[in-house]
């Protein structure tokens, strides 16, 4: 019997694992407890800051409504994000394959990135109406840029030695791209995808702020206007949950696709220490 498999050692390891899982939860709980106590002790009026318990109760009471509006925001966000991915990756490939093309599109792209989306958004209402389209477009515009930039950096990151090696082994251009360049770029691409994931939800909400008849952004405006502060906070909780779930889904996809990537190795090693 090797020493690692003794029952006490097993239990100890389980304990560490459990501790690792519980620490973030404990952190959140302490934060909520301080909030709750603060509200109760200093008697902050509910229209300024409702207590967490009240927000939780409202969240449960209004769950059907939150789900209905949450679903709308979710698919606006997803559509915008997928559109951004679909456009950004080919564009990044084109930019990295041709310097002329890079010079050709970069100024325009930068213009679209730098122009304040919140300021342009009201025009979207006039051009595209109040349906899904303007929200998808705002989500697209906001999440598009980090993907292009990171993907381009990734595609350029392969060393020239690697390129020479591949060529000396008789790889074709396409093989170099699919077998070497693309895999090398994945870690960079995913950091762009993760940044974009957190932005896409903001984009959808900005789109809804401009003009909407449903969605969590719409619900935020209406509850604020009706002074239903608890429901407003419950809506914020809903938005945060959607954002978190989406972010971690992308991260999960990353661990599936590039398990060899150094950031994961480092994390695992430090985790077992």
């Amino acid at each position: 019997m090797s020493p690692q498999n003794t029952p006490t050692n097993k239990a100890g390891r389980l304990g560490i694992k459990l501790l690792k899982m519980l620490t973030p939860i404990a952190g959140v709980l302490v934060f909520l407890a301080i909030w709750q106590a603060g509200v109760m002790i200093s008697k902050v009026p509910a229209y300024l800051l409702p207590a967490p318990t009240e927000i939780a109760r409202t969240f449960i009471d209004e769950l059907p409504r939150l789900l209905r509006h949450g679903w709308v925001t979710t698919y606006e966000m997803l559509l915008g994000y997928l559109l951004a991915v679909a456009v950004a990756i080919p564009l990044a490939i084109a930019i990295t394959s041709s310097q002329r093309f890079d010079q050709f599109v970069m100024p325009t792209m930068l213009f679209f990135q730098v122009v304040p989306k919140v300021a342009v958004a009201p025009l979207f209402l006039v051009w595209f109406g109040v349906g899904v389209l303007p929200k998808v477009l705002v989500a697209f515009l906001i999440s598009f840029f980090p993907i292009v930039i990171d993907a381009a950096v990734g595609l350029r990151s392969m060393s020239s030695e690697m390129n020479d090696l591949a060529r000396s082994m008789g790889s074709s251009r396409i093989q170099i791209f699919t077998r070497f360049r693309l895999p090398t770029s994945l870690p960079y691409l995913f950091s762009g995808l993760k940044v974009a994931a957190t932005l896409a939800i903001a984009g959808a909400v900005v789109g809804e702020f401009v003009g909407a008849d449903k969605g969590l952004g719409y619900l935020l405006l209406v509850t604020n206007s009706n002074m239903e502060t608890a429901l407003m906070f419950a809506t914020l909780v809903g938005l945060t949950l959607i954002g978190l779930v989406f972010f971690y889904s992308v991260e999960f996809l990353e661990t599936l696709l590039i398990p060899w990537h150094v950031t994961h190795r480092v994390r695992e090693e430090s985790g077992t220490m």
């Binding site: 229209y47 300024l48 009201p122 006039v126 003009g211 206007s225 009706n226």
Partner: protein, 340 residues
């Protein structure tokens, strides 16, 4: 040269200068901030009249008039004392009181609701009750329209969900939505958006007042103050002076529409004389109810508050107050001619 009379004259002159300086010092007007409900429109003209005609200065106040971004937001600014005195829609304020905000109305300048459906004349809808269902109605979140619209729908036995409510974040989007036919109508004030959009864009507009459609009205724009701020006797005195000069400004505007429009335009360059005058004239038709016909400007009647509360309680989920006096007080208002 050294005659005593001359000496006395000199002494007297010095004393006079000192005294003059002292009175001038005492009359250095106090700074006083007043936050409006919204960006400038004709309804605000009387406050600028009171300022430019020197009414505030006569009361020893240097009033700074600030624009607002919707009654809800402004009510919150009053509640947290950022701006202890402001201009807010009464129905929205009542909702704030229900939510526990320490605020009350100290003068109600618009006593009937000007809220209307405003639509393109070439696509007029809704003009009748049975056209409401399914209409696309644009509203600005955070402004005065949602509270009274909810009550309006309730009184007609309908729900807000029966229309396609399109909330937008700013008033320009609301107007653009209607102009570009993304929405059938917007909820706005008949004396503001309707004529203004028509004159600015050349598109002929039409409007139907909620009051004309279903008899729905509430007290409308009011000057409100923070209750805690009002506990200080000095602030009470400041408020009394501010209200007296404001009442005088409203009366002056009522009597001198043309001059008021000229004054207003100086502060709101986006407006021309025609629109300013239209808006001021519209505003002046709803400054009193039947119950306050013979009362000073801004004076509100208990029964009008009761009716406003009943309507909002029955149809818009307002938490009713056992005593409507928590909503308002007339005690800081003055009687005509609104002078010291």
């Amino acid at each position: 040269m050294k005659s005593p009379t001359k000496m006395y004259a000199l002494l007297f002159a010095v004393a006079a200068i000192v005294a003059l300086d002292a009175t001038a010092h005492a009359q250095t007007p106090e700074k006083f901030q007043f936050r409006l409900n919204w960006t400038l429109y004709g309804e605000h003209a009387p406050f600028f009249v009171a300022r430019d005609k020197g009414f505030y200065k006569e009361e020893g106040l240097d009033v700074e008039i600030l624009e607002g971004s919707g009654s809800t937001t402004v009510a919150q600014l009053v509640a947290n004392m950022t701006n202890p005195v402001a201009y807010v829609d009464a129905a929205t304020m009542m909702r704030g009181v229900g939510a526990g905000m320490p605020i009350r109305a100290v003068g109600v300048t618009l006593q009937q609701s000007p809220m209307s459906f405003i639509y393109r004349a070439d696509a007029a809808r809704p003009t009748k009750i049975d056209e409401i269902k399914g209409s696309r109605i644009a509203v600005t979140a955070g402004d005065a329209s949602l509270a009274i619209f909810t009550a309006f729908m309730g009184k007609l036995g309908k729900k807000v969900e029966d229309v396609q409510l399109i909330t937008v974040a700013n008033p320009q989007s609301k107007e653009q939505a209607v102009l570009s036919k993304q929405a059938d109508a917007l909820l706005g004030y008949f004396m503001d958006q309707g004529p203004r959009m028509q004159l600015q864009t050349g598109v002929k507009m039409g409007w139907t007042r909620l009051y004309d459609m279903a008899g729905v009205t509430t007290l409308s724009s009011a000057i409100i103050a923070n209750n805690d701020w009002l506990k200080d006797a000095k602030n009470q005195d400041r408020l009394r002076r501010f209200l007296r000069a404001s009442q005088r400004g409203w009366q002056y505007t009522f009597d001198n529409r043309d001059e008021a429009a000229e004054i207003f335009m100086k502060h709101a360059p986006a407006f021309n004389k025609e629109i300013s005058l239209l808006e001021i004239n519209g505003t002046m038709t709803i400054v009193r109810t039947d119950r306050t016909k013979d009362k000073p400007i801004g004076w509100s009647a208990t029964q009008d508050w009761k009716e406003s509360q009943d309507l909002l309680e029955n149809f818009a989920k307002l938490k009713a107050q056992p005593d409507v006096n928590v909503y308002y007080t007339n005690e800081f208002l003055s009687a005509p001619p609104y002078k010291k």
